[in-house]
Structures are given as structure tokens and as C-alpha cells.
Symmetry: C2
Subunit: 205 residues, 2 copies
DNA sequence: TGTACATCAGTGAACGCGCGTTCACTGATGTAC
DNA sequence: TGTACATCAGTGAACGCGCGTTCACTGATGTAC
């Protein structure tokens, strides 16, 4: 950490990171501007040089989260090749990996009650990460006979929902109520069964 | 509404209901004791005749929610007979129906960040509703060949996760971002595909 | 290289507010005789 | 049925607190000449 004088140098990002750490510990609604400022070593008023207010700081956290998430999903998709199936499974794993590695971002994105439409950058970034999973689903759906093929956006929603549910119910640090299975295994198995149901995996694979 | 004088008559329950309405509108963390008291027509201090404090009022909301939820799930299970399959599907539908019909309860139960273990009544009630789904899963799993049968608690977790995910992502009144499908249809289809993957539904049923 | 000055990024004090909670109180209710 | 009294369920005022935000300010930086 370089010593700092009156000017911070990179306060905006420092505030974002402080906010993320707080959100991770206390949830999006437990987060306060004053505390974020303090933990960045700065007066609360300084926050207003860089953000319009509390909401805007949370929105920046969510925005950065969606960008990381989108990148991660795209890499997972690309690295999951050669088959559409393996690519799709890879994005599913990436979802959970993101939630575990970037819990502050995840919470800012999905648990802050923040409307994605307040901010058009945010809306775009959110659209992109959703888009990756949908593309993966479209590619995959071409392997299903056309007459019994559900809309791709439907089964990408199913995977999204199951992933989100696993994160919220089983991957969150709810102390005491321990998950019966490691969340990664749970999700992997769930997606496997689901894909089998789509006829994309052999019955006894 | 009966006229009331100095004594309310049923303030405790009136406070619970006021709290539920507030939680539904503003989320568990937007809820305040003062506002609940006001909307029950009473001074904030009166709340402390019936509850230890804010947390305790939320816990009562969650408790009542778990009881309703447990009842609903049990009825769904019983009414879903004769087959294990139809009973299981019926509980899946009941999950979403509960979330839609009792959003305040649902939020108090699953989104308040309240630890279920703070209160042993609460822990028991929560255990019961989870138990119903698990029993349905056990009954169902007997129709799967033993050697390829995943643990029942695993696939009840899958269904729970998908249901929760659908509620959070697609059934919540996020204005603007409309769901691509009615949540009920989405969940129904998802569970159908999943059960097919377990070999419990014929491939082209 | 040195100086004058505009711009920028912080400070520190203060604001009004609504929160959860406490306290001594009082009006209403129910019970004993 | 009437009275005395204990118990209960509210009131109303007050508390200390931390919040988000504003404001006039000042120290630091960068640029023009």
C-alpha cells in the first residue's frame, strides 16, 4: 500500500472495494456509506466526490460484478468446448464459482434490491452475462430433436434458477444449518439430472 | 373491524400482520418497528408488551410462515396422491403457490437473514416444512432402481433450490424486468424435465 | 526553472431525521369478597 | 350488586445513536507563461 497524503489517488476504486467487503459481511442493507468511507481512510463527505450517493456506490459494485461475471461466463463457455454440452456444463459451474469467489459482488447484484434499470450501463452488463448462458443454451438445444425442444431461454432460466437457489440456500454461510452436500456437487448433480431429462445425456452415463 | 378503546384486544397478531405487510412492501430490512406500530394504531412502545424487540417480531412472522408453509406442503402432498410422482409434483407447485400468496411470510422466512437457530420453535417449524418435501422425495425415490438412485435428500434439495431460484428471479415483482415465462409454467416445466432425468417420467410423456 | 493561478480532491463540522428502546405513568379490565 | 384492589396493556415523552447528505473550506496538484 503506497503511503498517501491529502489526495488518495484511487479513492473511487478503494471505496468500491470497501463497500464490497462490507456488503459481504453484513448484506447490502447493512452496508453504510460512513463505514465504507472510514475503511477507505477517508471522510464520509469524500464519497460524494465520486458517487451521487449510497445507491450509486452499490450500483457501481453491481456493475463491476456483472462485468466480472460476464467475463467469467464467457471464458467458461469458450474453455468448455469442444461440445455444446461440456460448454454448457462449464458455464453452470462458473456461476457457482463466481458466487463463491465474489460474494460481495454477487450480493450487490442479486440481493440488493437494486433495480437493474436505474442505470443503463448496469442494464447492459446484466444483459451480457445473462446472454452468455442463453447462447450456451441455444447451442445446446440444437442437439434436441426439434419437435420436443423447449425454448432455449426456458432451460437457461431453469439452470439459472437452480444455480441461484443452490447459492442462496446451500452455499451461503448460514452458520449452524450446514448443507447436506457440498454445493458444487449438489449443483453438478442437479444439472446432470436435468440435462438427462432433456435427452442430452445417455440414461446411464 | 371492531371499535377499540384503550385496549386493543389482539394487538400481538395485529402487529404481526402489519409487519408482514411492511416486509412485503419494503423487504425485511426496510421494515421498522415504529411503522408497524403506527399501522396497527398503537404507540411504538406498545410493541414491547408483546415482543422482545424488532428481531423477535420478525421471528414471529417467520414462525407463522413456516407453520402455514408446512401445512400447505402437507396438504399438497396428501392431495397429490395416489402416486408418489403426482404427490411430489404437487408439493413443488405448493412451494411457489405459498411464495406468491404469502410474500411477506416468505421474505421473513428466507430473506430476512434471520438465523433459524435463534429460536427453537422456529427451528422446529422450519424443519417440518423441509421434512415434508423430503418425505415426498423418499417415497418417490423408491421408484428408481436402487443402483442408480441418488440420495432422496439430494433431489429434494434440487427441487427446493430450483423453486427458490424461480421465486427469487422470476416471481418477484421486479418491475420492468419481466420474466420470459409465467413462473408457474417455468417451474412446472423445470421439475418435469428434472424428473424425466431421474427416469421417473417416460421420455416422451 | 520559477511563479501565478485554476482546478481538483479532500476535510470537518453540522443538519435533520428516523430509528430501537426505556421509563414512569395511567386508563381499563378482571377478580375477591 | 357493589366496592377495593391487583393486574394488565396501553401512552407519551425522552434517550442516544448513526445515518445520508450539505456546505464552506483548504491543502495538493497540474498547467501556462
Amino acid at each position: 500500500m503506497p503511503k498517501r497524503g491529502y489526495h488518495h489517488g484511487n479513492l473511487k476504486q478503494a471505496l468500491v472495494e470497501a463497500a464490497l467487503a462490507l456488503i459481504e459481511r453484513k448484506g447490502p442493507s447493512g452496508f453504510t456509506v460512513a463505514e465504507a468511507a472510514k475503511s477507505a481512510g477517508v471522510t464520509p463527505a469524500a464519497v460524494y466526490r465520486h458517487f451521487d450517493g449510497r445507491e450509486s456506490l452499490i450500483a457501481e459494485c453491481a456493475l463491476q460484478g456483472h462485468r466480472i461475471f460476464g467475463d467469467l461466463m464467457e471464458h467458461a463457455y469458450a474453455n468448455g468446448q469442444p461440445t455444446a454440452l461440456s460448454a454448457f456444463e462449464s458455464t453452470g459451474r462458473a456461476y457457482l464459482a463466481f458466487a463463491r469467489k465474489f460474494p460481495g459482488h454477487y450480493m450487490a447484484m442479486f440481493e440488493s434490491g437494486l433495480s437493474v434499470h436505474a442505470n443503463s450501463d448496469l442494464a447492459m452488463a446484466a444483459e451480457r452475462s445473462k446472454g452468455v448462458l442463453e447462447r450456451a443454451a441455444v447451442a445446446l438445444s440444437e442437439h434436441i430433436p426439434e419437435d420436443k425442444r423447449p425454448p432455449a431461454s426456458m432451460f437457461s432460466s431453469h439452470i439459472w434458477a437452480m444455480s441461484h437457489g443452490v447459492v442462496e440456500l446451500f452455499a451461503r454461510g448460514t452458520p449452524g444449518a450446514k448443507a447436506p452436500f457440498p454445493p458444487e456437487d449438489l449443483l453438478e448433480a442437479g444439472i446432470g439430472i436435468y440435462l438427462r431429462g432433456l435427452g442430452l445425456i445417455e440414461p446411464d452415463a
